[in-house]
Structure formats: structure tokens, C-alpha cells
């Protein structure tokens, strides 16, 4: 019997669950490890340092220009692994599905996840599905965990940040957050906003191949935007940062949307960008290497790490003034005044 919507019984572990797993999950995501359907995925790992991360994805709406929750959940976890210099290998994916979700929507999400995983050359090797009653979840929530291997000798961590280091941004900011916002009711504007959601591991691999540990730290500026990430680095390293407003790349339509809404692109989420703190003398080489990669063509050196004031990020404005960039507080709201 075919169903077009997820029912509570799909999560109960019985025949319907089995049908869902075989006909939908394995069909879209299957690989030699997942297909075994053991209680645990079993595989060999090379000796060395492992990186391990997890994240839950509750984005709304679940489909947006440039991606969906499936792509986001795969890329997000791949990216977290990459930020510590790890080469990602395997992901797990657990789904909490609201009763009534269309099975076609679920299939689209899984296909998206598989495509992202293929782009990143990772495999989804284990998973879980639960179904909850209507109203108990918002369509679908996905949690992914991931494992990666850190190449020998590589040590990427904010505690390696030093005064004089260059701050490099891989591309334009604000794209993902505005793409999501543009789908929400009541904003009433239109443009071609496209989320930047993408797996960054190949870009990172090329950067590590180029300069190795001259990369001191990396992070992807997701929630809270670039401003929050820079503040996190400054606080952990107990150093300051000086960033140049005219060096930060922002697309025209993102600037337009931010002007209309009174938002600041520095605080808007990105899902396909990274910030790298790099040994000063290696800055130009890393930049050139990034620009050769499709996900880094708009990369820029946007500033430098300074000794003081500690823990503070300051911005040199377009007209040569200075101001402090704080961490984000609450949600940005559309404003009149």
C-alpha cells in the first residue's frame, strides 16, 4: 500500500517503518554501510586524531532558494568538521518528522542530503526516524553528527591565533539569512536571493595543502553572522581584531534588503562561508589559493589580529572612523526608526 503522507505508524518500528526505511530512506541515501541496517555502522578508521561534531537543524521554511533542510543538515556538519582541519568521512542523520509531512517532500529532502553528501564525498552511514503527532514538531527536524580525520600534524584551533595574523573571509556575507527571511510572510520584497549553503571541505583541503599550519583557526559564521564569529575568536584568544568595512564583500541585493529592513549584514547567518585566521606572511598565498576555488572566488583579506584592546573587534568604517562590533543580541527586527 502506498501512502503520500507520513503517519504515526511510520515511526513505530513495525511494518510501515520498515517500508519507509527501505522504500524511502535507503532508496535515496543508501550505501554499503547504511544498507546493512545494523544497530551501529561499523567501519575502520586510520590512526590519528578524529574530529566529531553534531548539530540540529530546525530551519523554517524547510525549502528555500538555494537549498533545503536536507542540504543544510549535511553541509553544516561537514563544515563544522572542516573548520578543525578534519577531512570528513561519515555522517549520521536522525529525523523527527511531524505526522502529515508529505512523503514527496521527505524524498526531496533526502535527495538533497545525498547530493550534498556526494559533493562533499561523505557517506551517511546510520540514522534514525521518529514520528510525532501533528503540532509536536514543525514538519521535520534533522540532527546530523559527523566524524572526520585530521591530517597528521595539522592543528587548527583559536588558541593558535597570534597578533599580526590576517583575517580572511571566503566570500559574500548575508546570503543565507536573507534568503530564508525573504520566504517569510510580511516582508513583501522580491529579488533573487539564494542561500549560499555549500560544503566547504574541498576548499579547506586546498588551503591546508597550500600552507598547512599557517592556518591558525577557522570557523563558519552561521548564526549571529561574521560579527559573532569574530567576537568568539577575539574572546577565546584574548586578543583584538581590526576589520575594514570597505574590504567586506556584500552582494548588492543583500545590501538593498538590509537597507530596506534596517539589518546589518555583519550579523546575518551564512552557510557556505568561512573565516580563516592565517599567519601574516601566508595571507596572500592563502587568498590566491581560495580565489582559485569556486567557493572562494570572492575571498578577501578583511583585517588583522591586534594585541589590544583584548577581546574586542573594531571596525574601520568606510570614511576612516572606528567603531566596535559587538556580538549579536536577540533577533534583528525590521525597524522604522
Amino acid at each position: 500500500m502506498q501512502f503520500d503522507r507520513i503517519l504515526l505508524s511510520h515511526g513505530s518500528g513495525g511494518r510501515l517503518s520498515q517500508q519507509l526505511i527501505h522504500d524511502v530512506f535507503l532508496k535515496e541515501l543508501g550505501n554499503e554501510i547504511l544498507d546493512e541496517l545494523n544497530d551501529s555502522a561499523v567501519f575502520n578508521v586510520a590512526e590519528g586524531k578524529l574530529a566529531y561534531t553534531t548539530d540540529a537543524y530546525v530551519v523554517s521554511p524547510i525549502f528555500f532558494p538555494g537549498g533545503d533542510i536536507g542540504r543544510l543538515s549535511a553541509c553544516g556538519t561537514v563544515n563544522d568538521l572542516s573548520m578543525s582541519g578534519a577531512k570528513p568521512f561519515y555522517l549520521s542523520a536522525s529525523f523527527i518528522i511531524e505526522e502529515g509531512l508529505s512523503i514527496n517532500d521527505l524524498k526531496t529532502i533526502l535527495m538533497s542530503m545525498k547530493q550534498a553528501a556526494d559533493e562533499a564525498r561523505v557517506k551517511i552511514v546510520c540514522g534514525d526516524t521518529k514520528v510525532v503527532g501533528r503540532g509536536m514538531a514543525d514538519k521535520v527536524f534533522i540532527t546530523t553528527s559527523g566524524i572526520g580525520l585530521i591530517p597528521d600534524g595539522i592543528d587548527i584551533s583559536p588558541r593558535r591565533i597570534r597578533p599580526g595574523d590576517s583575517v580572511i573571509l571566503s566570500g559574500t556575507i548575508g546570503d543565507h539569512g536573507i534568503a530564508i527571511l525573504s520566504q517569510r510572510e510580511g516582508l513583501g520584497f522580491s529579488s533573487d536571493f539564494i542561500s549560499d549553503v555549500a560544503p566547504l571541505n574541498h576548499l579547506v583541503a586546498s588551503m591546508l595543502d597550500e600552507v598547512g599550519n599557517d592556518i591558525h583557526a577557522m570557523r563558519d559564521p552561521t548564526r549571529g553572522g561574521l560579527a559573532t564569529t569574530l567576537n568568539e575568536f577575539a574572546q577565546v584568544a584574548n586578543l583584538g581584531m581590526r576589520i575594514y568595512e570597505d574590504k567586506i564583500p556584500v552582494q548588492d541585493n543583500i545590501r538593498g534588503a538590509c537597507e530596506l529592513l534596517g539589518f546589518d549584514p555583519l550579523y546575518i547567518a551564512n552557510e557556505g562561508k568561512l573565516v580563516a585566521i592565517v599567519e601574516n606572511v601566508a595571507g596572500d598565498r592563502v587568498l590566491a589559493c581560495m580565489k582559485r576555488h569556486p567557493l572562494g572566488i570572492n575571498a578577501e583579506i578583511i583585517g588583522e589580529v591586534v594585541e589590544k584592546p583584548e577581546g574586542m573587534v573594531s571596525l574601520v568604517t568606510r570614511i576612516g572612523g572606528t567603531r566596535v562590533i559587538d556580538m549579536m543580541v536577540g533577533d534583528q527586527l525590521p525597524r522604522i526608526c
Binding site: G186, E259, L261, I319, D326, P334, R335, I336, C337
Partner: protein, 365 residues
């Protein structure tokens, strides 16, 4: 972007700064009245570029900051009534009233409170929800009030019977007058609000030049606009030629926007109003006229007495009032950054995205 980028040119900014600093040997105190100017000054890091003899002081120009606590309590009360959809501009949602804010009302008690970008959105909501009473929270100065007036006229034309406006609109020149009459702060020049002036023109500020001999410059919001205005004020002080000048010529005419003024006068009339931290200022608020009274939320709902907590005496250390009058700066406040910050704001100056305290907190070391 057109009409933005040209007025951000760093080379021209540098020359303006040099010209300003060359002229500034004695101290000069300039007040920017408008919250958007406060933010722009901080955002572009203008203060640090200027000689220390130039002091920029912020006035009561943030309509969110000056909305009385009791008015917010009235808004919260309305939002709790049966079948009400309460619509508001985004910045009002976190401002604390006497006991709570609209945001907490929405979160904790499930009131239907919706952020809108324009009164036109609220009208759409009213049309789409004929069984609900849709109330729009009218906040803003003369820049915003004409569009609210236009919205009310549209509601009338469309025959809507479920749409109401709770008007807390305020007027800028009476507040400037009250500030000058109090004599509390010595001001050598006013950076006048660009978009309020787009509506009202230059005439309403003439009393400042004529009676108080203080020069006024109506100013735009890009860095070159603000720097040029500061230069004009410094020069006016040097030459002794005091008047009302328009720096923001591309958007402000001497007579203002007469169409907007007409529509405003058709729908609203002046009324005394309570300004948070300042008190009652005569003829500084706007009330919906008799002809449109069927859209007045105050007449639609039978409200209980709200006690006046606008003096914030139960939060005795908060000095928002002094800050709004330009007598103190945020760093003078014992609560600043200690108890009061952008995550847990005590007074309106910290909550509002354009409040002076929020600006200092976010943008200053």
C-alpha cells in the same frame, strides 16, 4: 547605491573632517535630535574623527525611547483583549512598559502581536481577518505620522470597521522647545532630523534661531551629510550668522511636503503628550480627529486606569530621562553595562535599536 554611496566618499570625508577640525578651537556642543542620526554617527565612527572640542550630544529623538511606560502598558492591555490582532513596528516590541513588554506578552501569554513594516500591512491583516479587531500601534514622529494618516484614510475609503489605530505619535519642534525652555543643557547648534524635515520643512525650527540664537542645520544621514552639517554649524557659530539651513537639499524643501502636511492635518490634531523621562510637553502628541474617531483605539476599548510609571521612579537609578534631555551620557549611568545592557535593558534608551545607550553599548569600547 545611488544617493547613498556618493555621500560616503572617504576622500571627501577626510577633507570635511580636516576643515571642521581646523575651525574648532573653542568647545562647541552640538545636539543631534534624531535617533537615526545618533546611530549613523556611531556606525561610521564619526566622533573619533573630530577634534575633542566638538561635543556631540543626543536629544529625545527616538520615538521608541520616548513612548511613556503607561502607553506601552495600554498597548499590552489592548493586545490581550478578545479577538484582537495587535500590529506594531518591530522596534516597539521589546520596550519595557511598567511591568512588561509586548514581546513578553506575546511569548508568555500568547497574545496575537505581529510585527509589520507598514500600516498598509496592518490594513491587509484587517481585510483578511474580518472577525478580528486589528489595532495598529502608531509610533513615530512627523516622518511616520502622515503615512499613518494616509492609512486611516484608506481604511475609511475601504469601509473597514475592524481597524483601529492607537496613536502615540509625537512632534519634534515642541520637544526641542521644551528642552530649550528648561535651560538644562547648553547647546551651540542643532543637527536637525532630515526626514522629519522632509515632511515639515524648515519653518518650524525658525523660533530656535530667532528666539534662542542657536543655528540649525537640517541634515541627511550619510557620513558626508553629517560631516557637512557639523561644518556648517561650526561656521555659523564663528560668523555669528544664525538661521535654519538645509544641508539635506536633495530630500528637504523649505516648505516641506505639503501633500503630507495636508493629509496629516486632515486626520490628526495636536494634543498634550507624556514623553518618557521628560514628562508632559504641551501640543506635542497627535490625536485622531473627530471625523475619523471611529478608527481611534482609545474610543473603541474601555480601558482601565493605568498608573503613570513614566518617571521610572521605581527604577531610581535609570537616568534615561537625563540622557534624552542631553544632560547626561550613558557612561554617567550607574546601571550602564552593569545591570542594563542590550540583552536585559532597563530603560528605553537601551532597548531601542536607536537609543543612545544602545548605541554607546554596541559601538563604543
Amino acid at each position: 547605491m545611488r544617493y547613498i554611496d556618493e555621500f560616503c566618499d572617504p576622500g571627501l570625508a577626510k577633507r570635511l573632517v580636516e576643515s571642521i577640525n581646523r575651525l574648532s578651537d573653542k568647545e562647541i556642543v552640538l545636539m543631534e535630535v534624531c535617533g537615526t542620526h545618533t546611530m549613523a554617527i556611531f556606525k561610521h565612527g564619526i566622533k573619533k574623527l573630530l577634534a575633542p572640542s566638538i561635543r556631540l550630544v543626543s536629544g529625545p529623538g527616538c520615538p521608541v525611547c520616548v513612548t511613556a511606560a503607561q502607553d506601552i502598558d495600554v498597548a499590552r492591555w489592548i493586545s490581550r483583549q478578545k479577538d484582537v490582532i495587535f500590529t506594531t513596528f518591530g522596534d516597539m516590541i521589546r520596550v519595557p512598559g511598567g511591568a512588561s513588554s509586548l514581546e513578553r506578552q506575546k511569548g508568555q501569554e500568547g497574545a496575537d502581536i505581529r510585527v509589520v513594516y507598514s500600516i498598509l500591512d496592518a490594513l491587509d491583516i484587517a481585510r483578511n481577518n474580518p472577525t478580528k479587531r486589528v489595532v495598529f500601534f502608531g509610533i513615530g514622529f512627523e516622518t511616520t505620522a502622515p503615512s499613518i494618516a494616509s492609512g486611516i484614510q484608506l481604511a475609511s475609503k475601504q469601509g473597514l470597521d475592524n481597524f483601529f489605530v492607537y496613536s502615540c505619535h509625537k512632534l519634534i519642534p515642541p520637544a526641542m522647545k521644551a528642552l530649550l525652555e528648561s535651560g538644562e543643557v547648553k547647546i551651540d547648534g542643532f543637527i536637525c532630523p532630515g526626514h522629519v524635515s522632509t515632511i515639515i520643512g524648515a519653518k518650524p525650527y525658525e523660533f530656535i534661531a530667532e528666539q534662542y540664537h542657536i543655528p540649525c542645520v537640517i541634515t541627511g544621514f550619510e557620513p558626508l551629510d553629517i560631516l557637512q552639517a557639523i561644518l556648517m554649524l561650526v561656521k555659523a557659530r564663528e560668523s555669528g550668522q544664525v538661521g535654519v539651513e538645509i544641508q539635506y537639499t536633495r530630500a528637504v524643501k523649505h516648505e516641506g511636503n505639503v501633500v503630507a502636511q495636508r493629509i496629516l492635518a486632515e486626520v490628526f490634531e495636536p494634543i498634550d503628550a507624556v514623553w518618557r523621562g521628560i514628562g508632559v510637553i504641551p501640543d506635542s502628541g497627535l490625536k485622531i480627529r473627530q471625523e475619523y474617531s471611529r478608527f481611534d483605539a482609545l474610543l473603541q476599548f474601555e480601558m482601565p486606569e493605568m498608573s503613570d510609571k513614566s518617571d521610572l521612579s521605581n527604577l531610581s537609578d535609570c537616568i534615561c530621562g537625563l540622557i534624552l534631555r542631553g544632560i547626561a551620557i550613558p557612561t554617567d549611568c550607574p546601571l550602564f553595562k552593569t545591570v542594563c545592557n542590550t540583552e536585559n535593558p532597563v530603560g528605553a534608551c537601551m532597548v531601542s535599536l536607536e537609543g543612545t545607550c544602545a548605541a554607546y553599548y554596541k559601538y563604543s569600547p
